[in-house]
Symmetry: C2
Subunit: 653 residues, 2 copies
Amino acid sequence: MINDASKSSDVDVQALTALLDGEYAEIRDLVRTNLSTHASVLEEAEELGIDAFRERVRELTVELAATGHSWMGFPKEYGGGGDIGASIAAFETLAYGDLSLLVKVGVQFGLFGGAILHLGTERHHRAHLPDLITGKLMGCFAMTETGHGSNVQALGTVATYDAASQEFVITTHGDAARKDYIGNAARHAELAVVFAQLEVAGKPEGVHAFLVPIRVDGAPAPGVRIEDAGRKMGLNGVDNGRLWFDGVRVPREALLNRFADVTPDGAYESPIENPGRRFFTMLGTLVQGRVSVGGGAINAAKVALAIATKYAVRRRQFEAASDGEEQLLLDYGMHQRRLLPLLARTYALHFAQDVVRTQLHEVFSGDRDDEQARRELEARAAGTKALGTWHATRTIQECREACGGAGYLAVNRFAALKADSDVFTTFEGDNHVLLQLVAKGLLTNYAHEFEDLDQLGMVRFVTGQAVETVIERTSVHKLLERVRDLLPGGDEWDQEAGLLDRDYQLAMVRFREEHMLAGLARRLKRGLDEKGDPGVVFSHVQDHVISVARAHVERLVLEAFVDKLRTLPDGGDDGNDDGNKVALGLLCDLFALSTIESDRAWFMEHGRLTVQRSKAISREINNLCRKIRPLAVDLVDAWGIPSAMLRSPDLVG
Amino acid sequence: MINDASKSSDVDVQALTALLDGEYAEIRDLVRTNLSTHASVLEEAEELGIDAFRERVRELTVELAATGHSWMGFPKEYGGGGDIGASIAAFETLAYGDLSLLVKVGVQFGLFGGAILHLGTERHHRAHLPDLITGKLMGCFAMTETGHGSNVQALGTVATYDAASQEFVITTHGDAARKDYIGNAARHAELAVVFAQLEVAGKPEGVHAFLVPIRVDGAPAPGVRIEDAGRKMGLNGVDNGRLWFDGVRVPREALLNRFADVTPDGAYESPIENPGRRFFTMLGTLVQGRVSVGGGAINAAKVALAIATKYAVRRRQFEAASDGEEQLLLDYGMHQRRLLPLLARTYALHFAQDVVRTQLHEVFSGDRDDEQARRELEARAAGTKALGTWHATRTIQECREACGGAGYLAVNRFAALKADSDVFTTFEGDNHVLLQLVAKGLLTNYAHEFEDLDQLGMVRFVTGQAVETVIERTSVHKLLERVRDLLPGGDEWDQEAGLLDRDYQLAMVRFREEHMLAGLARRLKRGLDEKGDPGVVFSHVQDHVISVARAHVERLVLEAFVDKLRTLPDGGDDGNDDGNKVALGLLCDLFALSTIESDRAWFMEHGRLTVQRSKAISREINNLCRKIRPLAVDLVDAWGIPSAMLRSPDLVG
């Protein structure tokens, strides 16, 4: 075997799994058991026709609900588990299996159930939570419209209050306002949470949510038109549909009235005065969908990496050494380069997901629920979702290619992984739109009065003096000093020295974020001073906006990894380092340096990287890959993916 | 509308289509008509079960054959069209439609028919070409084995000559030697071209091809075991299968004997003495498969780009200007950045494909068929295939995401495009393996005696003095001068000046290639001097190997674009520039600069780009995007994709 790096230390797989599973080991194991029990669904996804598979997925959704993990996030008084963090952990783990099932669970318990829980009040909870928790009542979440995918504030469905009958009249105005891609709508949902522009006494009050029965005894309710969205790239076990409402009447109590209500005689009232803030508060309660999708995506990537890694230590290709034996794929430098930085990034994202899940749990359990905590959570959820889902798309693609023609066979999982996860970058918020949200948050952090801005508002905001504040507060100069302090002086600057210094790595990604943010603020201001039209200015700097957000989230991800490492105890009594800590340290280094490497042009352009040091980073990455290579199988085994979920009999054998 | 770039000139769509279609306009139009006539196959791909769809695709393959374009490449005397270039152009155009049909046509006429044509002699041609050309005789190409996907030289099927009966006895030795992923094998093929290790009188003579009947009246022939490869990620209209041979006897004449033969009494003879060269000569005749797949991939990318571009000038999202109207997607800077460099690269690859198709035509029509021409063709075909197919994967993905949730619906084409084209990066040569071939060619160009080297040989080769030659001949210093000469002196160096100078762009990509190649040669030599083990050395430099090849092919692609531009006449009588030439010039600039931009870290690391100039390139790219934006729809329309092939009723309207 060609392998010039000796194994530096051993990974204790079981202990590493325990570390990764964390406080949710028990529920994750329950999900693992359920997945193994129902492993046949992976084949059924291929073999059953769409109709039969949809029924199968519905059936499984109900069956899993009975075992307890799907509805952990609901209050105990209605039959739930009262543990939001556990419900997310369960959802993440479910992503090891068939993703139609995952998404169906997400639609039913996360979107539909979550909307009723968070936007409704006791009357809605009492009426619906017990039945939806058992899957007896199936529902859907009707927000997205054909004409306004990401711009929810502009949607076109209208709910007019009729004081005479004390009812809301819900109507789809024009085909652009049809509800589209709605999971559960084509077949199974009886009740829908419908988002519509509320009009009371002729006055528009903005977007609100209403409970609307859409199906009675299996047929569309009067005034409701339902169309099947048809075959999709993947997730064909989920019945996505379109909805039109033609003067559908629902009682006044159908308004999910936690944040606003209409009195019987037609007065609109809300504890939140500012309409923009009201809208974003309502939307904010739905953040758990983003946290769930991000976590699911990261775990889908793990499945792909586990298969590709196991294949790469089994498959030989071409003779390279002189002993006449063909070389294992994972002993090739290029193959290491293709898989191992993705492995490191998956670990990094895993720990970042832990942080956002914990924040979600704290906010929604009331442990730490204030305005600031919610805003932090929303930004972090948006960013982690964007990076996690893009990571999944990229990782699954690379792993498929790394398994060659075998990767193309459906039995080897990549077909379903690719097709099913592809829309993760789009649903629960298009990734580019989410990163713009993150960037907006970064800019407006410094100016509270602008926090509810839409895109146009954000652009206009920079005309104000707030920009100066941003530039001042993004303390570039202070950071420059920090970066410099962390680097060895003199000739050593250009050498490998210090590359594995965690503080150096952190300083680099922090510097990038702050510098980009200050630069963006300056460009926005200058653009408006010169051109005036905010649309044009925004269009010109949009790639910069996205880069800032990405830099911000990558900094959070690296910090999450580093923080995790710092909680681990150092070495054992025998003076030896703990193998798991060593392995995680290597992965953290690889993640940090490959993050810097892929943006090394930027670092050079901004004077933070010399040519020599940039090359040294690439060499160090190759070196780290060689060190991680002997640990790779243990590192994917530690994810605890049930072997039946890998399928791939010829690849992982 | 937010659009600050005025339309610089008009595109004459019809004239541009004529330019792109070139000398093959007629046959491309025939294919376009056929695709429109049979457009229903796009829906059938979704609606029919696998068995029914396979039959449908077979039926269409035969039907299309009757209209004439599928077999243009065969000699007229056997019923073909005698025009290899036309056959490739037809295949490329067929990629606008269902890709199962494309691949079925490729298997039957390209791989199966092509092997008989190029490896066989008159007896095989007379016996089989007329029937295979009409589709009456269906066949398969049984090269790939489970255990040796890319390493054909190491395959395990054995053909032993039995002089007594004057037969070859063909046997699968071990399960790793089963033929795998063989198109047409699971259902339709009656005859197979089987690649096996020939043994004559106990002596191994290397890999040769044999005609083996595998099916008689629909049942497997005696001694042949056939297994269905099962469901795949895509291309489910093609019946891929596995084959095992258990002492199957075929007559002596079944050897495709153009390059080697066995006499009745068991003497092996070949006009090519060197076994390695013989093997590569045989394989070299199959190059048209790579040229076809590369061209097909580029056209599949066009379909995706056409849909995404048309959607982006139709769909509005978010308010950005002050007029209350939402902004068109393609007026967003980020959206331009996502789509337009891909559009430019697609044009560049189109012209690069023209060059490789022309070379193929010349070599196989005997217009210019010498050793040097064949080697150039093979390297160019490998490189264009790799870059073209990766481009397709990336482009289709980006376009799907750019169409949001709508892009996920099967009716909008991306589902099939993604799933069907995904394996293009793998079949007809894994892209990484192909790029290694290209790099080997670059190294061994300077040392003829090493031209038949396998990977191990290539690594060993660098111990020889040949490296010195490489280093000397890659005239880095001369190139440095050229780059410098093309740049303005003094302060201007750091400015935009000269970025749109075509000679500057060319000098940059040429410099990169030569510098990388010389560096690789040096690293190989130094590595062997220090470590000795060629396997380890190769593993360490493998990413460098891939980079060299990529840089080489991108240089060829840019040269093809520039050469094309130079053949176009300048302006009209009225002194105005021709709109199409202007538009192509913008695309060429965008391709050149975005190629440099994506590798700008390398250019900075190697002193070819200052920080200021690197930033100037990014600005110029944004500027070019804004200039191309008003032309974008015309530029995708010029590809002449039949509207029925776009489907997407809600996206392109």
